[in-house]
Amino acid sequence: MPDFGFSIKKSRGEDLDQVSLDKYRQLLEREPSFKRCFQCGTCSATCSARQFTDFSIRHIHTAFRRGDYETLEDELKKCMLCGKCTLACPRGVNLRPLIISMRQLLDETPVEVKRRRRQR
């Protein structure tokens, strides 16, 4: 293939008919304060892990809302659960319990489904 100097970018659009939002709904039941999040990014701005890596709580939130769980399990492991984001959140979202709930929900995903996702 000739070197064109650019590549085709994958669409970032989400087709909501193709994704399952079950886990997002379960998360809202476990941690209703998540509904108050208005995506300001204060959590990411204050995050210690964010200072040194590309870890972003805000991205994780967005991905979870869209039902895009594929890479989240590894991402969530980067959180050190220090709780600074919970202190900084202007909307009072219980971020530390929220992250723990996300980990638990993704951990409950059947092993077979996880394996298929990794293969994709």
Binding site: M1, P2, F4, F6, S7, I8, K9, S11
Partner: protein
């Protein structure tokens, strides 16, 4: 219903037009502008003036932020001064971006008369010329749309598949700068652009209504001027092609130089990068300008219309309509010389 539809029409003059050519169309689709002039003058008997002193409208530089707006205004004013000098009042720019630039500049002058005075002063100081604002500014596709039924009566062919007897399925794509900047300047406005759909329906074809019909083609100036950014451009085009693929269109027709170019050429690039083509057999979907489509149906020679310059080759489409062509003359120059045939791509069949 008609009452509401009337609100979506635009005033299109009947005769006496000053024609302005596009910077890029003469390279990309060399037969289109000549075909338009032939259609207007010989088929419809209209007065269209084609001045050899015309020049750029600065559209690409203006949208790339390298030409300031005051300069664009003065350059546009010089083009209008050529029209005024020859006694015309109806201006027809070949390019959709030029159409958008002229519409924008006229709107600015109407909203800010001091800018108009400043432009008149700048033009006079620089060239000693004076100008009038056109009474009617239309795109050539508006004119072909307006006279579509007159042309239909003169056409030798229709947009019908001669093997199946069914209408050809046509994707129509309107350039963004035609009606998305100033919606009331386009036939059907930005909501129901009908300028190309009207031609297709009048000439026997069937318009394909697909999900991404109004999506940008990917030409957006900032998306392609820098090589590294062209991924944005091709991603747009891919989104459109993927959306139209299930409807199996016979060809695409557009009224914008950029749309025709990128919907056509990116099919080659996508085929090289991803080994993907958007028709069943691997030849791609042909992309025509509206002048080429009109010219073909009127019986003009496909090679004189410049169809051999396209990336996706059009012979299979010509066969479907029943238009005769001589494969031996495909790469003959106008003076009879035989030009070297281009290399064949690896993945897109030709």
């Amino acid at each position: 219903m008609n009452r509401y539809w009337n609100e979506y029409q635009k005033a299109i003059a009947d005769d006496r037009f000053f024609y302005e050519r596009s910077c890029i169309r003469q390279t990309f689709f060399p037969g289109s502008e000549t075909a338009f002039l032939k259609i207007m003058k010989e088929e419809l008997g209209k007065d269209v003036f084609d001045d050899f002193r015309q020049h750029t409208c600065t559209g690409i530089g203006y949208h790339a932020d390298v030409v300031p707006m005051e300069t664009t205004m003065t350059v546009v004013a010089r083009l209008f001064s050529l029209m005024t000098e020859h006694g015309y009042e109806n201006y027809v720019p070949s390019c959709v971006t030029s159409f958008g630039v002229f519409t924008e500049m006229i709107h600015m002058w109407q909203e800010h008369p001091e800018l108009l005075e400043k432009t008149r002063e700048n033009l006079y100081k620089a060239t000693g010329r004076e100008f009038e604002i056109p009474k009617n500014l239309v795109h050539p596709s508006d004119l072909v749309y307006k006279f579509r039924f007159d042309l239909a009566a003169r056409m030798k062919y229709r947009l019908v598949n001669r093997f199946t007897g069914r209408p050809l399925r046509v994707v129509e794509h309107i350039g963004c700068h035609y009606a998305k900047i100033f919606p009331d300047k386009g036939v059907g406005k930005a909501e129901f652009p009908y300028v190309l759909a009207g031609m297709i329906e009048a000439w026997g074809g069937e318009v394909v209504d697909y999900p991404e019909r109004r999506h940008c083609c990917g030409f957006g100036f900032r998306q392609y001027l820098v090589q590294e950014n062209r991924g944005y451009s091709i991603s747009n085009t891919k989104k459109k092609l993927e959306s139209m693929e299930p409807y199996e269109p016979d060809f695409i027709v557009t009224n914008c130089p950029g749309c025709t170019l990128f919907l056509d050429r990116w099919q080659y690039t996508i085929a090289e990068m991803e080994h993907k083509t958007y028709d069943r057999e691997g030849y791609g979907i042909p992309v025509l300008t509206y002048e080429e489509m009109t010219g073909l149906l009127l019986g003009y020679n496909p090679w004189e219309l410049g169809l051999q310059i396209h990336q996706v080759q059009c012979e299979r489409l010509l066969d479907k309509i029943g238009i005769p062509y001589d494969p031996k003359q495909k790469y003959n120059a106008a003076d009879g010389r035989i030009l070297r045939a281009p290399e064949k791509p690896d993945n897109l069949l030709v």
